[in-house]
Amino acid sequence: MTDRSVRDVELGLLLDAIYLRYHHDFRSYAQASLKRRVGSALLHFKCETVSRLQERVLGEPKLFTELLRFLTVQVSDMFRDPLYYRTLRESVVPYLETYASVKIWAAGCSTGEEAYSLAIVLYEEGLLDRALIYATDINPESLRSAEEGVYQTERITKFTENYRLAGGRASFGDYYSAAYGGAVLDRRLKKAIVFSDHSLATDSVFAEMQLVSCRNVLIYFDKTLQERALGVLGDSLCRKGFLGLGSKETLRFSQHAAEFTELVPGARIYQKI
């Protein structure tokens, strides 16, 4: 057996151990980037081999909490890909306005940047008072951080620029105040967001939405898991509801492609047929 095959066996055993012990399922994640993240974790935990990491993670729940950060946390900017938010504002909001109550799901919300960006768009379009945003993730630490809504001051410049490019109607400065050595987002925004644990790998539909925004999450899944996740996301949508993906994610290679039409080419916003 080659070294490469032995390392694959070790990785498989680590993912099995994590699943059996902690019920987090990384077994169908895209392998190439997962291997890199496990490699970084090995350095951080000073483990010589993946087998050593596996042994420790089984015995040390605290280590797992930290390992989860290596396996999941992706930092995103507020209004990342301004075209996406501009398209939501121009083409999706008019549809949302026809509903008495608006339900939106930010799936894989990580530390909350996307959920707050959506809340700002809804606020400026006069929809926030009748909207509910479910923001879900599998990492409890990320969810806590998302719920706090405090971001490092040096990130605000980027957020502000994105907000402007995304067609923001006011000044981004209206939505945060400086405190705790960072920028604290406005309470008005938080009130409309419910943060909750949900796994696209193991959980199912929990409510009916008009918009599901799941950006740069599917890229971490392998083909099989991606299909499962797209099934859950699609089933969560009402008829004619919208699915927003990351700017380099596409339904083109998916078996679910025929269930959607692309609303605006390039913006990666799809409408359920």
Binding site: A32, S33, K35, R36, Q74, I219, K223, K248, T250, F253
Partner: protein, 196 residues
């Protein structure tokens, strides 16, 4: 000897100029997919696929997640995403942290290519102003693949090729820019005959 199944190319400053020389010089017999990471500023439209499409007969795409690699096709990494190749010969993307201050990073593509294809990879490091690619090229070489470096004297920015040469050592093929097309052609065709 096994066939070259994929060519992976990385570069930053001066690398687009180099590609304008290399890509048109590749004949149709060089049929394997070509995957390219160039360091580009995030947040701007990626003009590279359009430019390359104009100078060669191959299909050229900006890389999309889960796209299966197809022969006679060039894939260019999208700004602000890492680009990787999976074992099933499809592309995948990630927004993991920048590596060597870069996203996309050449090291990330090269490492995944080495893991996916083993000896079936030819890796090429072009002109550039930092050390990204050196580690990845070494991994390609360690996995039995072919490590190629643009000769620093022919690179507008020699830092990246020099770093790759230092990391890989004497196993690196150092090739002058004007000869890289011919080198790749011989490599791919020679290996195909050897494997047949």
């Amino acid at each position: 000897m096994s066939d070259i199944e994929v060519i992976v190319i990385g570069g930053s400053a001066g690398a687009l100029d180099a590609l304008l020389t290399i890509v048109p010089a590749l004949p149709e017999q060089v049929s394997c997919p070509i995957v390219i990471v160039l360091h580009l500023p995030p947040g701007q439209a990626n003009l590279v696929p359009g430019i390359l499409a104009r100078i060669c007969a191959r299909a050229v795409y900006e890389a999309e997640d889960k796209a299966p690699l197809v022969d006679h096709t060039i894939y260019v990494a999208a700004p602000n995403y890492h680009l990787l190749i999976e074992r099933n010969r499809a592309l995948s993307l990630s927004i993991d942290e920048p590596v060597q201050l870069s996203r996309p990073a050449i090291d990330v593509l090269f490492e995944s290519a080495a893991d996916a294809y083993g000896p079936g990879v030819a890796g090429l490091v072009l002109s550039g102003a930092n050390q990204d690619g050196a580690q990845g090229l070494w991994q390609i070489q360690q996995a039995g693949g072919v490590a190629i470096v643009q000769a620093p004297a022919t690179a507008s920015c020699p830092i990246m090729p020099e770093a790759a040469m230092r990391r890989v050592g004497p196993a690196a093929h150092v090739v002058r820019l004007e000869d890289i097309g011919t080198f790749l052609t011989k490599l791919v065709c020679a290996k195909s005959r050897g494997g047949a």
